[in-house]
Amino acid sequence: MMDAPSLLPLQLRDVVFVAGHRRIIDGITVEFAAGTRTLMVGPNGAGKSVLLRLCHGLLTPSSGRVAWNSTPATKAPGTPRRQAMVFQRPVMLRRSALANIVYALQAAGYPRAEHLDRAHAALQRVGLVSVARHSARVLSGGEQQRLALARAWAIEPEVLFLDEPTANLDPGATHEIEAVIEAMHQAGTKIIMVTHNLGQAHRMGDEILFIHRGRIAECSPAERFFKHPATSEAAEFINGELPW
């Protein structure tokens, strides 16, 4: 799959998303390049999660364009799917941890012969080999989220979207999840992640996208964003002064 042309950069042009009468995403133009970890922050209801879903292809923009460098966002027949998403609450099928990963590999279009090896390798990487045969739904919240990451990692996505993956987890589990995401980043996966946790954004972000009222209020390197935010909204948000 490394021979295939890169999916990135991902370009959004004048993307608008309207639900009912509300413009949840109000004209966003942005480009996501390979390599860096992009963290989206912003108050509740700013449109972060919707933006992530528009990028991933779960939602279709009301107007504007979401364009990948190569193949469209949807899976072309015969080629493994190369983008994945991890949600705030992991959703597991009533089957073993291993079988959940095999299911994803099958859906992504990997040849049957590779399923078990890839699934085992993915469990190994997130430290869940010991529960491979356990039913996925009886695992703890932290384990399920690590399994969700393993499921995403198994298909070796070029881009991984994460929607507040640690929002429901304790600090220990959060740390483990962050370590796995970091390892995926090291392995070359583009990370695009929504978080509410500014500490996390600081720890993990190369680039910060500050979303406010459906628009990108600020897009800058993490260092600069936290030290010298360019907009007053961002400054207020960092200081915890923005009402939400």
Partner: protein
């Protein structure tokens, strides 16, 4: 009340003696109703799942119609199947009227709406939880409906039982299309109706006891399986 006590004693004697006629009737009943439930699941589960995850014009009307069909009166179904299978009917040449096959056919029609409507509800609830994840994995709606049916298999067991209860308990449809012919199409419910009107209460009561026992045993079994599965799979 003496009549009831005496009939019960006689009924138990019939059961203990393993009365051949009685067990023939029980066997045919189970054969007809289990076959009908099997066919109804083959048709109804995919139908319910497809409606649950599908998006098509008229979907709401289909759901309302399906729910309404759950209350289909067995005698009406019996009458319709009778008209189709009778000599002059469209399927008359097959010679199926007054055979167990005709009874299976009628009961299948009765059970399909129950299986389809209830599984539609269960699968749709699960679809709410799963649809983003499954779409994110690149699963088609068709694939998702199969996945959800398998994932919900233990919940669907209850629906299958509801369908069996409907089939095993109805009299009207099998009476009309089967004809209640002794030794050929006589099942538990039609026998109970007939023997009661003839005054042979022990046989009627014995069959009643078996009917209730079968339904009870199946439900108990399903409950145990579901409990164990929930502990194991969460």
């Amino acid at each position: 009340m003496n009549g009831l006590a005496a009939a019960t004693t006689d009924a138990l004697e019939l059961l203990i003696a393993g009365d051949a006629k009685l067990f023939g009737i029980v066997g045919l009943s189970l054969e007809v109703s289990l076959s009908a439930v099997f066919l109804a699941c083959v048709l109804g589960l995919p139908l319910g799942a497809a409606i649950a995850v599908g998006r098509f014009p008229g979907r709401r009307s289909v759901i309302v119609a399906l729910n309404a069909l759950m209350g289909l009166p067995p005698v009406v179904v019996g009458l319709l199947v009778y008209l189709m299978l009778s000599r002059a009917g469209p399927l008359g040449s097959m010679g199926l009227l007054f055979t167990p096959t005709a009874m299976i056919f009628a009961q299948t029609i009765l059970v399909v709406p129950i299986v389809a409507a209830l599984s539609r509800q269960v699968v749709e609830d699960a679809w709410q939880e799963f649809h983003e994840q499954l779409r994110s994995l690149g699963v088609t709606r068709m694939g998702a409906s199969i996945t959800l049916l398998w994932d919900l298999r233990f919940s669907l067991l209850t629906i299958v039982l509801a369908g069996f209860g409907r089939a095993a308990a109805e009299v009207g449809a099998v009476m009309i299309v089967g004809g209640n012919i002794d030794g050929v199409t006589r099942v538990m419910t039609t026998t109970i109706a007939l023997e009661t009107s003839k005054g042979d209460l022990p046989l009627a009561l014995a069959l009643g006891i078996v009917l209730v026992a079968v339904v009870l045993a199946l439900n108990a079994g399903a409950y145990v399986i579901k409990e164990a599965a929930e502990r194991r799979y969460g």
